[in-house]
């Protein structure tokens, strides 16, 4: 038996071993009691004495090297088998396993987004009660009690409480905050408001507003324009156009309504903007001197601006929601989209 041809045979056989079964076969053929290596050992006594030692050493070396190769092969095969086993254990196409994350209501997300734009600019958030006095809701804001300007603020009154009502806007918090704090003021106020409006796809008797105002010695209408431009671009994208239209609010003078170029049609006219190319998003103006007088701030020394917007309207525009009632149905298929 030629040791070199055995060596070659073993190496060829081992390299073709690809499974545990084949390795067993290999062991049987070469390492068993009747295997090729044993046969080689059996040859030793038949050799001339001077050749025995060298041949013996060569056979031993071969045995050792085969043993280590087999061990290596075994490790490789086990690892490979391990991989196969793991792959058979799961189907990566199955849904993953995790605690499903809950979602914040889209109204909350919109309020958070808007307030954080202002808080990053240095505004602070203040809240106020939903049950308000007639004074804070109207008189303090320069809205006469019996005047058509009140028609825009149709209001729910409370039974059994003469002068109490559900606030019809967040502006009463202006009165509260300006009474209890001293300028400089930079405040945003989110919250629920109530108006007895007939319900349809864009009107509800309860909705949310966010109000902002700033009072200091040198606040101008130009500042209001600049600030709201930053705000609108942060919410609706830097490519929008904006316009300030003169308007009337009893609590601001001068007053304006702010339109942005329609985010759907980019200003060319579509059903969302009523073919006008513009979307009204908020009302604003310079705080009326009468409002300052009611809260004890001297309008000769201080000036300020205020703005307010409907959260639902902003969220509807942002997400393309076409019916305001969806916000309050709390359909999980709706809530889980945000």
């Amino acid at each position: 038996m030629d040791i070199n041809s055995v060596k070659a045979q073993i190496s060829a056989d081992l390299s073709s071993v690809n499974s545990a079964a084949q390795l067993e076969e290999f062991k049987l053929k070469h390492l068993s009691r009747k295997g090729t290596l044993s046969q080689l050992t059996a040859v030793i006594p038949t050799l001339p004495a001077e050749a025995r030692a060298q041949f013996g050493q060569e056979v031993n070396a071969l045995k050792n090297s085969v043993a280590s190769l087999v061990a290596e092969k075994e490790i490789n095969l086990t690892a490979a088998a391990g991989r196969d086993k793991a792959e058979q254990d799961y189907d990566i196409g199955m849904p993953g396993i995790a605690q499903e994350l809950g979602r914040l209501h889209p109204i909350t997300q919109t309020i958070d987004e808007i307030s954080s734009i202002f808080t990053r600019m240095g505004f602070c958030i203040v809240e106020g009660p939903e049950i308000e006095t007639e004074f804070n809701n109207f008189t303090g804001l320069n809205i006469p009690l019996e005047h058509p300007s009140r028609d825009a603020f149709d209001t729910f009154y409370l039974k059994d409480y003469e002068k109490l009502l559900l606030r019809s806007h967040t502006s009463p918090v202006q009165v509260r905050a300006m009474k209890s704090r001293k300028p400089p003021l930079a405040i945003v106020v989110p919250g629920r408001v109530y108006r007895p409006d007939a319900v349809d796809a864009s009107h509800l008797f309860m909705f949310h507003q966010i109000e902002g105002f700033m009072v200091d010695r040198k606040i101008t209408f130009a500042d209001l324009k600049g600030l709201l431009e930053l705000f609108a671009k942060a919410v609706f994208g830097s490519d929008i156009k904006m316009r300030f239209r003169p308007h009337f609010f009893p609590f601001t003078e001068p007053s304006a309504e702010v339109d942005i170029s329609c985010i759907i049609c980019k200003g060319t006219g579509c059903s969302v903007c009523g073919r006008k190319g513009w979307l009204e998003i908020l009302g604003c103006g310079m705080i009326h001197p009468n409002v300052f007088r009611h809260v004890g701030i001297d309008p000769e020394k201080f000036s300020g601006f205020a703005f307010g917007m409907g959260i639902e309207r902003i969220a509807m525009l942002k997400y393309g929601i076409n019916d305001i009632r969806l916000f309050f149905e709390n359909d999980l298929r709706f809530l889980k989209q945000f």
Partner: protein, 676 residues
């Protein structure tokens, strides 16, 4: 307010196209919501803000067009060739009961009119602005109303009793059949025009059917007057009766226009029918106080943040009909015309200047905000709470604060407070403020289950409202609802997790732990589990009774709800944390399997075990739990893991042995547990 391009052109020379004009008007505060081509004319629909009654007339808008297009207003003076053919036998007395209710009343008697259809030009103009043509006389009064903003009324003179007209409050019990065919009950809050017998018109709102001008009318009394805006508003609201006339009176009309409007109408009547004015009378004289305002260009710049030249400011004010007397280079004294009752302060003038100058020409700038250190607010805590809850997989709901009256009861402890009611609810579904958040949440669950959702997990943070001796109170609360089952496909197959009280408790425990609120206590009392924090009643959990479920149309599903008052728990909020080093030494864990009576609470058992285990017993866990055949009735099987560890050294088995023996002994000795 609708106005046409050609009608405007009667009063102002317009050099720009209708769509340009619409844009310019919009940007000056007269928002054109619709522009429509009708034949050879264009109709502008303008949204007029409540402060500008002067814009409720063609002339008023023409004045604005002149100012924004820098064009001249064409001043038409009616009555130039007008003569009264006074007849001696004509008699009329006007009595005004209270000058405050009616500062001015004018009447013209016109005899010999021939009532018939209006000429085409008149019909078409009225129709373009949305007014139906009736007959020539009525059409003329409407035409003048739209043109001047002063509402007029024509009575059939021969149907009036006697020779006097009085403007007085209606008497209790009086009524009138108005032109729209409705019988209206009157009251002393309502101002009427009356002849010697009865009310013939509701002042400023609508005339009576009896004295209406119709085919047979040949003599008329033409009324032009000023009525108190608040009185007209109240009567209009009380009667639920809106009219073009009331719309203008409640916004207040310009008294200086009354005479001109009456003249113009009389003149038109003379032109279109053979009628002659035979008597003109008036009573009252409105006190028109001409306001003067000091205007400072420096103040305008301080408010607007833009420098507009004094010359331009002056030109704008003049164009709008203000009279400007220079008191200096940058200071003017400005006289307010009678049609601008809305202008009272310098800021009103500043707005006028900015409006015509163009808001778009004021360059934007940025204010300097002075940073303010603000203490953590309730809102921060609420945001944290919401984020904890969504992390636990709950979805935030927002529901209405108002509910149906009977939905307020039965969903919480019976001592629930009295509800605050809405005086003017829209419907029965929103007639009271909710005294708890749960009815609305259960409603949402019903809705979602109907949409075939298997698992509904919602929360809401909002106020509940109730009446107290000191008035209505609002209290910020958290409502949680769990219902249905979650299915999870794990290695071992599908696992169903059915919502229950312990799920609610798990949410509460996580919440309190993250908020640093210590040792909340949960105690079962009847059907309700009460939650207390430091001894303060903070909320409750309950499973909806079948009756309640049925009310919300929920079938075959258990619904678990919790309400926690944030107002009650937030005082215990503690977000300060003191670092504790992770343990250095290993634990020794010992399991105990036992049978425990079902009536015993595990947390009580744990408490006793902790006392027995002392310092070394670091933790106790329920490792297994079983009921069923192997366990006797009234008992449950449990495996409890006891975790022992020392903070100072590695514990030995020998050290743990006596401690664990004591801990185990408590179970059998104190609670009669059977150790297995």
């Amino acid at each position: 307010m609708k106005v046409t391009y050609n009608w405007l052109k009667d009063f102002v020379d317009i050099k720009i196209a209708p769509d340009d004009l619409a844009e310019r008007l919009t940007m000056a505060g007269l928002e054109v919501v619709e522009l429509e081509k009708r034949g050879s004319d264009f109709v502008f629909e303008i949204e007029v803000t409540s402060n500008r009654p002067d814009w409720l007339s063609v002339i008023g808008i023409a004045r604005e067009v002149a100012a924004i297009t820098k064009s001249k207003l064409i001043n038409r003076k009616p009555g130039a060739q007008f003569k009264i053919k006074k007849a001696k036998e004509e008699k009329l007395e006007i009595r005004i009961e209270n000058k405050k209710d009616c500062p001015l009343y004018t009447a013209k008697i016109i005899r010999g009119v021939k009532v018939g259809p209006s000429p085409e030009w008149l019909k078409s103009r009225l129709e373009l602005v949305g007014c139906r043509s009736v007959n020539n006389i009525v059409d003329i009064t409407n035409y003048v109303l739209f043109e001047t903003g002063e509402p007029l009324h024509a009575f059939d003179l021969d149907r009036l009793s006697g020779y006097s007209i009085s403007v007085r409050r209606a008497k209790a019990g009086e009524s009138i059949l108005t032109i729209d065919g409705e019988k209206r009950m009157l009251s002393p809050e309502i101002l009427v025009i009356a002849d010697e017998r009865r009310p013939v018109a509701i002042a400023g709102i609508m005339g009576g059917k009896d004295t209406e001008v119709g085919e047979g009318t040949s003599n008329i009394l033409l009324e032009a007057a000023v009525f108190d805006p608040v009185l007209v508003r109240r009567a209009r609201q009380g009667l639920g009766l809106q009219s073009e006339s009331a719309y203008r009176f409640e916004r207040s009309v310009d008294p200086s226009v009354v005479g001109l409007a009456s003249l113009e109408a009389a003149e038109l009547i003379g032109k279109l029918t053979p009628g002659n004015v035979v008597l003109a009378k008036s009573a009252g004289s409105p006190r028109v106080t001409k306001k003067t305002i000091n205007f400072d260009c420096g103040q305008a710049q301080r408010i607007l943040g833009a420098a507009i030249s004094p010359a331009r400011i002056k030109a704008i004010l003049l164009a709008l009909g203000f009279r400007v007397n220079s008191g200096g280079k940058t200071k003017f004294s400005v006289k307010v015309p009678s049609h601008r009752r809305d202008v009272a302060l310098a800021v009103d003038l500043i707005e006028e200047v900015a409006r015509i100058y163009g808001y778009e020409r004021i360059p934007p700038s940025l204010p300097s905000v002075k940073p303010q250190a603000v203490a953590r607010s309730i809102l921060d805590a609420v945001t944290l709470i919401k984020n904890i809850l969504i992390g636990l997989g709950l979805n935030e709901a927002i529901t209405y604060s108002m509910v149906e009256r009977d939905l307020n009861s039965g969903l919480g402890p019976e001592e629930r407070a009295r509800a605050v009611e809405i005086r003017n609810p829209l419907s029965r579904e929103q007639e009271v403020l909710r005294t708890g958040l749960l009815p609305s949440l259960v409603g949402c669950a019903g809705f979602n289950l109907n949409q075939k959702q298997d698992y509904v997990n919602l929360f809401e943070v909002a106020c509940k409202f109730y009446a107290t001796d000191k008035g209505p109170k609002e209290e910020l609360c958290l409502g949680i609802l769990l219902c249905g089952r979650k299915s999870l496909v794990l290695d071992q197959g599908m696992v169903k997790d059915e919502a229950g009280f312990l799920h609610l408790k798990g949410i509460a425990e996580n919440l309190f732990s993250r908020l640093g609120i210590k040792e909340p206590a949960y105690s079962a009392e009847k059907e309700i589990i009460r939650v207390r924090v430091s001894g303060v009643e903070a909320g409750f959990m309950l499973k909806l009774s079948q009756a309640l479920r049925e009310r919300f149309d929920i079938k075959n599903r258990d619904v678990f709800v919790a309400e926690i008052s944030l107002e009650k728990i937030l005082p215990f909020l503690n977000l300060k944390r003191q670092f504790v080093a992770p343990p250095k030494y290993p634990v020794i864990s010992r399991d105990i399997s036992l049978l425990l009576q079902e009536s015993l609470r595990i947390d009580e058992v744990f408490k006793a075990m902790r006392t027995a285990g002392g310092e070394l017993l670091k933790d106790l866990k329920v490792a297994d739990f079983y009921k069923g055949k192997q366990v006797p009735e009234g008992w449950r099987g449990l495996t409890i893991s006891c975790i022992y560890r020392s903070d100072e050294r590695t514990l030995t088995e020998a050290e743990v042995y006596p401690v664990h023996a004591r801990v185990s002994a408590v179970l059998s000795e104190k609670f009669g547990a059977k150790i297995r």
